[in-house]
């Protein structure tokens, strides 16, 4: 099979990228491993999606349907229940693909968009101590079992991690009949939206233990009990602060990681902060023709931003394919510099060869700041400043650099400073 563009992953990112890459001259294939398109949105039955893109508040499946309806109308080709098993690159990409219906076969493609989303951090990767009974699982797995399959994974629950997924599951499990005894968060503040603290925890009198983590797990075959302890500023447990809970379930909401292992063999350059590829403003990696967008590129908190970003990636892939013959390797690529108050910036690179559109830089800050100022500097000159309020590590921010702001083709720095009143 030969295609112009293969999009791996038919969730929010893949669908948005497909819609914008769509062109009568381009043969596109979307490959999805689940039995339906939509990705993780299918199990996110709660509200809060679409405020930016649609100016409405939608549930996950409703948001996804907006893109799916248009996708189906455009008759873009897609495969369900199909997994990409391997990727090689010579000039073109060679993907090895597998499904029950079609067996194992190869697809050749000029370009690939990687929109595979992310996976949840596990108990092992945060080295939670204690025994290893059943009943400990990532919050997203429990969400899938409940919302898609219709099963509660436990009846008395404790949740580690106060990010939105943990908070949402605290409410969801309670509504379906489980008892949620508490949420522990290792940081001194919650990562989740205030609305979720109120409507998922306060509403149901579920206590939130800030600066606490799980320090022991008891149960040989089935989880019986967990112990949490307060931690100091170095996240070390403080003696004599143990609190014990008799639970049969411990849900973990301790972080998401871009799901890109499939592409390790292509050796694209990674950003240790995002744990994914380094890309330029076209969302292209150092591997020509390989584009990454959505949670596979960096973990988002709003699906709206996933869609906006993926539309750009799709457009870039389209341009790439349509101009393949005239593409020359750019030698004017610069890394974005940023200071220690910024955790990471995406895209990490600017290709100055042809900037004709504004560049949205997405980034996360390293600590909460009530008031702050951004300064964008090029060639020792300030080319843009922007005030910002209520910055938090859990909330992705954007700053847009327009082509007319640039004074030359030299490196850009983004500096963030807190304004203390």
């Amino acid at each position: 099979m030969i295609k112009d563009l293969v999009i791996i992953g038919g969730g929010a990112a893949g669908l948005a990228a497909a819609l914008s890459a769509n062109d009568p001259k381009i043969d596109i294939l979307v490959i999805e491993r689940e039995r339906e398109l939509g990705g993780i949105l299918n199990q996110c039955i709660h509200n809060g999606f679409g405020l930016h893109v649609f100016k409405e508040e939608l549930t996950g499946p409703e948001y996804s349907a907006r893109y799916m309806d248009e996708f189906m109308n455009l008759n873009i080709e897609f495969l369900l229940n199909t997994t990409v098993v391997d990727v090689k690159k010579n000039d073109d990409f060679e993907l090895t693909v597998s499904s029950f219906d079609q067996g194992l076969f190869k697809i050749q493609s000029k370009a690939v968009i990687l929109s595979t989303g992310c996976y949840e951090r596990t108990r092992g990767s945060i080295t939670l101590p204690g025994e290893r009974p059943k009943g400990i699982m990532p919050a997203g797995s429990a969400q899938r079992y409940l919302n898609i399959d219709g099963y509660l994974v436990g009846k008395s629950v404790f949740i580690l991690g106060s990010g939105d997924i943990g908070l949402i599951m605290a409410r969801r499990m309670t509504l379906e009949g489980a008892k949620v005894l508490g949420v522990a968060e290792i940081m001194p503040y919650s990562n989740g939206l205030t609305r979720n603290i109120v409507q998922c925890l306060h509403d149901y009198d579920i206590p939130l233990y800030l600066s606490h983590t799980v320090t022991d797990i008891k149960g040989k075959d089935r989880l019986e009990q967990i112990t949490i302890q307060e931690v100091d500023q170095n996240f070390n447990p403080i003696e004599n602060t143990q609190k014990v809970f008799d639970v049969d379930t411990l849900l973990l909401s301790v972080g998401l990681i871009p799901d890109i292992s499939l592409f390790d063999s292509l050796e694209f350059i990674k950003d240790p902060m995002t744990k994914s590829a380094i890309v330029n403003q076209y969302y292209e990696t150092n591997v020509q023709g390989l584009f990454v967008c959505g949670n596979a590129l960096h973990v988002h908190d709003l699906v709206d931003y996933v869609s906006i970003e993926s539309e750009k990636a799709g457009k870039s892939a389209q341009n790439y394919i349509l101009n393949l013959n005239s593409k020359t390797k750019s030698n004017n690529v610069h890394e974005i510099k940023y200071n220690e108050k910024i955790r990471y910036v995406v895209p990490q690179l600017i290709d100055f060869q042809s900037i004709n559109a504004p560049i949205d830089f997405s980034f996360r800050v390293t600590k909460k700041m009530e008031k702050a100022i951004f300064t964008v500097i090029q060639n020792n000159q300030v080319i843009y400043t922007k005030k910002a309020k209520h910055l938090a590590p859990a909330e992705m921010e954007k700053i847009t650099v327009k082509p007319e702001m640039l004074i030359d083709q030299s490196q850009i720095s983004i500096l963030l400073e807190e304004v203390l009143t």
Binding site: L58, I148, D149, T194, H202, H390
Partner: protein, 120 residues
């Protein structure tokens, strides 16, 4: 009287409302309105699932079209527990009309075809 965190905007003012419904701690009118509503007539959008008789898609996601009175949520869930979806559903289809006499409908949030899609 009660203490609460306002959720009308990202600032998250810490509000205090007394028994005479006097609000303090708010930086704007939205906060005042939120506190009074939370004290007198708190409402919530309910998002949940209902059972279907389709083996491949055993649950359908639904929501209340508008916020329901908070005190009715668990009763509403009890009613929803006995629903079984048998036909094709489109987003917006009414699953339960005027639930608990609130005038608010529970509507589907997903398009589902009951025909089985998988071969096993």
């Amino acid at each position: 009287m009660r203490d609460m965190i306002c959720i009308a905007c990202p600032i998250g003012c810490h509000l205090h409302i007394d028994d005479n419904l006097k609000v303090t701690g708010n930086l704007c009118k939205k906060g005042e309105k939120y506190a009074i509503e939370e004290m007198t007539h708190p409402t919530r959008i309910l998002t949940t699932t209902v059972k279907t008789n389709n083996k491949d898609t055993p649950r359908l996601s639904i929501k209340s079209r508008n916020p329901l009175p908070k005190e009715l949520l668990f009763h509403a869930l009890q009613i929803l527990d006995s629903i079984i979806i048998k036909n094709n559903v489109k987003i917006g289809d009414i699953i339960v009309k005027d639930i608990l006499n609130t005038g608010i409908d529970m509507v589907a949030t997903k398009n589902v075809a009951m025909k089985s899609l998988t071969k096993e």
